[in-house]
Symmetry: C2
Subunit: 161 residues, 2 copies
Amino acid sequence: MDALGFETHDHDHCIADTVALVEKRCLDSGLQLTAVRKRTLEIMLEEHRALGAYDVLARLSQEGFGSQPPVAYRALDFLSKNGFVHKIERLNAFVACAYPHADHSPAFLICRECHLVAEAETDPAQGMLAKIAASSDFVIERAVLEAEGLCPTCRKQGAAT
Amino acid sequence: MDALGFETHDHDHCIADTVALVEKRCLDSGLQLTAVRKRTLEIMLEEHRALGAYDVLARLSQEGFGSQPPVAYRALDFLSKNGFVHKIERLNAFVACAYPHADHSPAFLICRECHLVAEAETDPAQGMLAKIAASSDFVIERAVLEAEGLCPTCRKQGAAT
DNA sequence: TGATATATGTCATAGTATAACATATCAAGA
DNA sequence: TCTTGATATGTTATACTATGACATATATCA
């Protein structure tokens, strides 16, 4: 239940590792990790921020891929349908998955100051929503858990000011 | 922790009651529940569905209020800032608050079939997000909890098909 | 009543997302 | 290997969501 994302780490390494892992998972599942899709994943991994579809599109387009919105949306759809990228509804934006090893139900902490997004894995069966759903006989298929606030770094800086 | 919204109830009554309650709360807090704002609230209360800002705008405009997007967005902003309406991030839409008696941290169950939205009150300190935030030293200011799935009615209908 | 803040309305534009269709590429069986 | 059906890419066009900026009107209160 730890929420990585607010500490530094070996970034290049984590990108390469994740891409390799995703490649393997696609191969195993018969998914086509095509050039645009792979490049999109890399672009997402280069940030721990949420990127808008149009930010991604700008970079893809610069690099010789198509220049129209569906190019980015389709790559992002593929990646998020397969859990390699998540959509942050609060921001209408996307973030690379921090735990690409398996399917999971993510929760996010979004810093309103520096816009960093930290991801944590949750147990979907244990949360508030599960309890509410059970009491209403509602079947949850997807859950959005997003908290907005101040990350430790920004909070300290704010206090210092 | 019960999630009302999937049962029938005396609707006209609930609208009138809620409007009266909101009027009182505004008076007490020195908030101006102006004509557009009140009408917007009523429009929202007539549905247990999420309405887009442009749906609301269309109705307001029909009824002689302004016809431009800010008219609807400003009324919805006022209502949601004060907790009388909530934004459903997943849908980029708004829903009338089902518990307008006090400030609270809402969670939503959204039926993907009939688009009904049920609201439940939660204890923000008890959920997943609170635990994650505590372990990361993150300060939550606002939480988005939205589950998408099938409501009891639609599930039964689906099974019958 | 006059001064200040708040609210409404408009025009203009920015940002997010998808439908529809042509072309290209891939995967698998004949 | 060739064909065929499915998948993926790229385009144009358009729809949906949201806000900035500014003028006018209304409310609040000294």
